[in-house]
């Protein structure tokens, strides 16, 4: 049975996007994340929203499932998904230089 590949949302971590949020050519996929509602290529490229600001706003509003057309999967866990995407973001950030001990 062929498995449809899913992609993580870089805003909320939801692992169920049907396309990569950015294409090879650099454009947005135009997909609207059903979890947080961010539309790649529109929310960012047209409205100027950043992933982190959108995430914080969505978190402050209670991390509710955004889509009216799709239901959340049974294992939808927004807190875990957000935690994962934030951990990955921290892991990708430049490390602080080590202290020069004993100098």
């Amino acid at each position: 049975m062929e498995t449809v590949k899913r992609h993580p949302c870089p805003v909320c971590g939801y692992p169920g996007l049907s396309e990569p949020p950015r294409t090879r050519s650099g454009g947005g996929s135009y997909e609207i994340c059903p979890s947080c509602g961010f539309q790649f290529g529109v929310s960012d490229d047209d409205a100027g929203e950043t992933y982190s600001v959108w995430r914080e706003r969505w978190r402050a509003a209670g991390m509710k499932w955004s889509s009216r057309g799709l239901r959340p999967p049974k294992d939808w866990d927004p807190a875990t998904h957000v935690s994962r995407v934030e951990s990955e973001a921290l892991g990708a950030a430049p490390k602080r230089p080590k202290r020069n001990r004993g100098a």
Partner: protein, 238 residues
């Protein structure tokens, strides 16, 4: 596109546009809009100088042939409008009212009597009576599960009345773009992006021609910033 809607057990048939709309000058500051529908219904025009701000309204009689006159217009101005009933807009279009002196008013000494006023320069030609009806959304929309969300987000840009109508408008946008060879780009994934600066409409389509999204960007430079190479739509076979 026809649907049966049920309200409290009584079926209500959707109104369909059968002809027009067609805009004609009836005075130096006056335009008459005419259109026909398949069933008798009210006549309402909402109009303005911006596609997002159709703040003015004019109404006509109930019937199947609709005539609504817009008055106190500014010569030399582009007007955007929607025609339909009080509840349901049917289509949107644009006209340019000629500047004073550019077109003789029908009551001016230079206009022969009995001559029908000339049609306005419509920046977007009205759809022909025999225009193809859009296929159902399950055929034209790329990710059907997402259609409701795209409609919720962008349907109001086009006065779409429901997701099916919104998907149909996106299909009609594509078809008109191909017929009139509008500006388009295609990227290495085969995604085609089309923009109509006259109405501000933007749409993106998958390689197979199904719609990814359809909306009106806030930014005028949005299309220019999109990836892809300029693409001749006449060569596109979705």
């Amino acid at each position: 596109m026809t649907g049966l809607w049920f309200f409290g057990g009584v079926s209500a048939r959707a109104v369909e546009l059968t002809e027009g709309p067609r805009a004609s000058v009836t005075g130096s500051r006056e335009v008459s809009l005419e259109w026909s529908t398949d069933v008798s219904c009210g006549s309402r025009v909402q109009y303005g100088t911006s596609p997002r701000m159709l703040t003015k309204r004019a109404e006509g009689a109930v019937g199947t042939h609709h005539v609504v006159v817009l008055t106190d217009l500014v010569p030399g101005t582009v007007y955007h409008y929607s025609v339909g009933t009080a509840r349901y807009p049917l289509t949107t279009n644009t006209f340019i009212l000629p500047a004073l002196g550019a077109t003789p008013a029908p009551d001016s000494p230079t206009a022969p009597s009995g001559v029908r006023p000339p049609a306005l320069t419509n920046s977007v030609p009205a759809a022909p009576v025999e225009a193809s009806r859009p296929p159902p959304a399950r055929v034209t929309w790329g990710n059907l599960g997402s259609l409701q969300d795209h409609f919720d987000r962008h349907g109001a840009d086009f006065s779409a009345r429901d997701p099916e109508h919104y998907a149909g408008l996106a299909w009609e946008f594509r078809e008109r773009a191909i017929r009139e060879n509008w500006s388009a780009k295609r990227d290495e994934d085969g995604v085609v992006r089309i923009y109509d600066p006259r109405t501000g409409g933007f749409a993106a389509y998958n390689r197979n021609g199904t719609t990814k999204t359809y909306f009106k960007p806030r930014s005028r430079s949005y299309f220019e910033r999109q990836p892809g190479d300029r693409f001749d739509l006449k060569t596109w076979k979705p």
